[in-house]
Structure formats: structure tokens, C-alpha cells
């Protein structure tokens, strides 16, 4: 019942988005509204976006384009190419998430165990997220290339996964720290009165208590991993994934405006898969979320 209602709201959301798009396209001026235009291309401030075919293709054109050949000739339908690219991106994102969760959990555990580590590490962890991915990706890539040249095989997708993990670890580290520190004083006293050591307290109290904090962190981490992979693919020029495909098709958009929407839809689906898999995990961990408002 609740599931059906949720699905209904979901469909309504998508429909209203389509309506908004097509509605504006119908009434908006073809060349948009630009002020302070001095005649040269790209000058002035856009107040209303352009609505002509190249800028805003019809939704049905986007959908129809999915079933046409990717790049003419014998190439497979766009939707097949998108699916293949999405699978590669998803795989790398999953690896990135695994690395990110491992590193994030480890950092959370270390920071919870030693106050000094929290003081020393937490500021750096926060600062780390202010470094733009675009600046950071080529560095990882060139380190990877050096390792590869040094004899240890280091494929490009591994660099992409590491870059994605850089985005994914952050919410996990912060969420793990907060979760592990969430048990009440009384529970800690109780464990002490049972003469329980660090390990027992961790397993019986801190980890179960951290689940409600970890799940939202994982959801963020998973979404970040997908985003990170797409951006990293673009910035280090890795072939085969959604990011590269998006850039390629966007470059040809003036002649084929509906095409780039294929990989965009692909990455939306990936984001949903990422968030959905964490939701499934949450159902599995339901008993650790008692008292939490059901979402």
C-alpha cells in the first residue's frame, strides 16, 4: 500500500518535470531573453534560457533517440550503448564505494578510539573535500601511470575508482565517527560494569548504535561514488564509461541535440540504483533502526 503510494508520487514527480520542460518550451521565446548583449557570441546575461530544438529537444525526441543507432551505420541503438557504458561506470563506482567505505570506517574507528586522532584527522578530512575533483583527478591519474610504468599493472579504471572513493569516504568517515560516539553514557557505564573490553563494546554497542548514522552516510557515499566516477572519467579521459560518452555526444549536440540525454538518463538511473541498494541494506538492518522515524 505504502509502496504503491510511493510509486504514485514518483511517477507524478517525473510527469510534472516533463510538463514543466515541455510547458516552458511551448511558451518560452526561441532565443531566450538575454540582457546586456553586445552582439558577440556568449555575451550578456541569460535571464530565460533558449527553447529552440538544439537547446531543449522535446522529451519524446529524447526518448525516441534512445532507440536509434548510436552513431549511424551499424552501431547499436543508443540505449544499448548507454547501458553498456552505465554498467562499466556502475562497476567502477561500486569499487570506489567499497574503497571509500573501508577507508571511511577505518578513519571513523581510529578517530573514535583516540581523541587525539580525531583532533588531528578531522580538520584534514574536512579540508580534503574542498579540493576540487577536477584538480585532484589528474594527480591520481599520473600517480597511477607512474605505478603502471614501474611494473605494477595499474589500469586507468583503478585511478577512476580511487578518485570516486575520495568523494565517497567523506560522509562515511563523518557518519561513522558520529555513530560510534552515539551510545549514551549509561550504555557505556553498563558495558564497563560488565567488564567488557574495547572489542566487545564495539561489537555489542557502538557498531549497532551507529547504524542509523551510517545508513544516510552510505547513501551519500554511494551517490558521491557515481558522481565521482562520471566526473573522473571525463577529467582523465577514460573511455567506455558514461562520463566520456556524455562529453562525446554533447560535442555533437548541435547536430544531434537529443543524443546527450541518453547518458544523462543513464547516470540518473545509476544514482537511483546506488541509493536503492542502500535502501535495501537499510531494510536488512531494520532492527538497528528502531525508534527512528520510518522514512
Amino acid at each position: 500500500m505504502r509502496g504503491a503510494k510511493g510509486l504514485g508520487w514518483g511517477i507524478l514527480g517525473v510527469l510534472s518535470l516533463i510538463l514543466l520542460w515541455e510547458g516552458y518550451k511551448l511558451v518560452g521565446p526561441a532565443e531566450g531573453v538575454v540582457v546586456g548583449d553586445d552582439g558577440s557570441a556568449g555575451s550578456g546575461t541569460i535571464l530565460l534560457p533558449r527553447t529552440h530544438e538544439r537547446a531543449m529537444p522535446h522529451v519524446w525526441d529524447m526518448a525516441a533517440r534512445l532507440f536509434e543507432s548510436t552513431s549511424g551505420g551499424d552501431s547499436p541503438p543508443l540505449i544499448v550503448s548507454v547501458a553498456n557504458a552505465a554498467l562499466l561506470t556502475l562497476g567502477i563506482a561500486a569499487l570506489g564505494l567499497v574503497i571509500g567505505v573501508t577507508v571511511g570506517m577505518a578513519l571513523g574507528l581510529v578517530m573514535q578510539r583516540w581523541r587525539l586522532a580525531e583532533w588531528g584527522l578531522l580538520p584534514w578530512i574536512i579540508v580534503s573535500q574542498t579540493v576540487p575533483l577536477i584538480a585532484f583527478a589528474p594527480v591520481i591519474n599520473s600517480i597511477g601511470n607512474q605505478i603502471d610504468r614501474g611494473g605494477t599493472p595499474w589500469p586507468q579504471w583503478l585511478s577512476v575508482a580511487v578518485i570516486a572513493s575520495y568523494l565517497a569516504f567523506f560522509p562515511v568517515a563523518v557518519g561513522a565517527l558520529r555513530g560510534l560516539e552515539s551510545p549514551d553514557r549509561i550504555h557505556l557505564d553498563l558495558m564497563k560494569s560488565y567488564a567488557a573490553g574495547y572489542r566487545t563494546t564495539l561489537l555489542k554497542l557502538r557498531l549497532p548504535a551507529s547504524v542509523p548514522h551510517l545508513l544516510p552516510a552510505l547513501r551519500l557515499g554511494a551517490a558521491n561514488a557515481v558522481l565521482g566516477v562520471v566526473v573522473a572519467e571525463v577529467s582523465i579521459g577514460m573511455r567506455g564509461g558514461l562520463g566520456r560518452m556524455l562529453i562525446q555526444l554533447a560535442g555533437q549536440a548541435s547536430g544531434d541535440p537529443a543524443a546527450p540525454w541518453g547518458p544523462i538518463f543513464g547516470s540518473v538511473v545509476l544514482g537511483l540504483i546506488a541509493a536503492g541498494s542502500i535502501a535495501v541494506l537499510g531494510v536488512g538492518l531494520k532492527k538497528y533502526r528502531r525508534g527512528e522515524a520510518s522514512a
Partner: protein
């Protein structure tokens, strides 16, 4: 008659907390023996160190002076040997565990096998009258029922000493009186000594063999009132003149010593 080792022996126990503005003396020169099977309440206004004393006995904090022995052992050893069970003002149940799993938590931590654990949990659930609720989760129970689970849990290791820090403090009066009667029954059945922190005079008198009256700044014992009521405590006792005598005695002991009372207003 042989000399029995007291359940608790505190000799010149003091506790000083360092704070940013200097040291605060929470307890000074506490002298107290609790006999095996004896029910002793600690009562006094807030800041008198009654909870601190309980935490010292439980080895949750260490005294800064004096010696503290539980059944003739240092407090830390007694904690490791699970010589006491403890309950706090909040039930402190783990929300992801069922009632049965909460009661069995200490047994699980100490590596008791599943069968033994299940038997003991069933026994304890019956003792506190929650047999029908062992598979419920804490959020499905009332405050009074949660506190009964906490008491059952504190009894899991069959301790000879029970430490209770205002366990009924957050409950309504009806539940409170009911659980007081239950506690005297359980204490009698298990022959455990009880150290019970409270700020309710009637509660202290109804439950205890002796009431330890404490006063603040610095926290210390000012008087120990021998209640002298019969071992059998039931609802009729709440109407009995001896009970009122006890209440009066404790009240006078409290008021005679609370010199700081006008300042608190």
C-alpha cells in the same frame, strides 16, 4: 558466630573532581559497611554525592582517597568478577535487542552458552513478570516495564550485591509503589545486598533496613537511620505507624543537616 565479610566496606573514602575552576570535593571521609543481604538506601539533596558513592562502589569511577572493598576485594576486582548488578534511573535498554536479549546481554558478553542463557532469561523474565514480553522490543514497553527489564538484567549474573541509582525516579507514583514492593520481594528471594540511591524519603524507608543520610558541600554521611521495620514489606506497611516513625526519623535527620537549604531557594 563467625565474622562475615561485608558486601561493601568503605573506609575514609573521598572523591575530588578536578574542574576548570579548581577542585570540587564530591565526597569526603565516607565510612560505611553494608552487610550481606542488607538493604541500604543513600538519601540526600542533589550534590550530596550519593550517586558518586554508588559509582565508586561500582568501580565506574575511582576514589581519590580511602579504600573501598566489595566482599573483601578491591572494587575493580569485584567489577571484573561480576559481583554486583547495576540499574540506573534510565532503563538503558538497547533498542535493537528484544526484552529477552536485553536481559541476557551480560550473560552473552561473558560467554555463557545459548541454552544456559535461554534458561536464565526465562527465569528472570518470570521473576519480574515479563514472560509474555521476552520477544518484544523496548519501544513497545511502558517505562515501568522497561525498568523491570533493567532490574532483571542486573540480576542476570546472580550478583550478591545490587546497585541501584534512582531506578524508579522517572516513574509515576503508582508504578513506583508497585515496583518498590516487587523489589523488596526480589531482594528477599535473591538474598542480595542492595545499595539504593533515592531522593524520596518514603521510598527509602519502605525499602531499607538502614537509611544513610547525606549532605552536600562537601558530600558526606551525616547520619545513618536504622529503620527497624519487619523484613516483610507489603502495602499495609504504608499505613503503619512504625513506617511513619521511620519517615519522620529520616526527615529530621535530613533537615537537621541541610544547613544550605535556605541558599537553595
Amino acid at each position: 558466630m563467625t565474622v562475615t565479610t561485608p558486601a561493601v566496606r568503605a573506609d575514609a573514602v573521598g572523591k575530588v573532581f578536578p574542574t576548570k575552576t579548581g577542585e570540587v570535593t564530591a565526597l569526603t571521609d565516607v565510612q560505611l559497611d553494608v552487610a550481606p543481604g542488607e538493604f541500604v538506601s543513600l538519601i540526600g539533596p542533589s550534590g550530596c554525592g550519593k550517586s558518586t558513592l554508588l559509582r565508586l562502589i561500582a568501580d565506574l569511577d575511582a576514589p581519590t582517597s580511602g579504600t573501598l572493598e566489595i566482599f573483601g576485594k578491591p572494587a575493580a576486582k569485584a567489577r571484573h568478577d561480576q559481583d554486583y548488578g547495576i540499574a540506573f534511573q534510565q532503563a538503558g535498554l538497547l533498542p535493537w535487542r528484544t526484552v529477552g536479549e536485553n536481559i541476557g546481554l551480560p550473560l552473552e558478553i561473558h560467554g555463557k552458552d545459548k541454552r544456559q542463557r535461554a534458561d536464565r532469561v526465562a527465569e528472570l523474565a518470570e521473576l519480574v513478570g515479563l514472560t509474555d514480553f521476552v520477544d518484544s522490543h523496548p519501544d513497545q514497553l511502558s517505562g515501568g516495564m522497561q525498568q523491570r527489564v533493567a532490574i532483571a538484567r542486573s540480576l542476570a549474573e546472580q550478583p550478591r550485591l545490587l546497585l541501584m541509582d534512582e531506578p524508579f525516579g522517572a516513574l509515576d507514583e503508582m508504578t513506583r509503589e508497585y515496583l518498590q514492593s516487587e523489589l523488596t520481594r526480589i531482594a528477599a528471594e535473591t538474598h542480595a545486598a542492595v545499595v539504593f540511591v533515592t531522593h524520596s524519603i518514603p521510598e527509602a524507608v519502605f525499602l531499607s533496613d538502614r537509611v544513610v543520610v547525606m549532605s552536600p558541600r562537601p558530600g558526606r554521611i551525616t547520619e545513618i537511620v536504622d529503620v527497624g521495620l519487619p523484613d516483610e514489606r507489603d502495602e499495609q506497611l504504608r499505613e503503619a505507624p512504625e513506617y511513619y516513625d521511620g519517615v519522620t526519623a529520616v526527615r529530621e535527620a535530613l533537615h537537621g543537616t541541610t544547613t544550605a537549604r535556605p541558599n537553595e531557594r
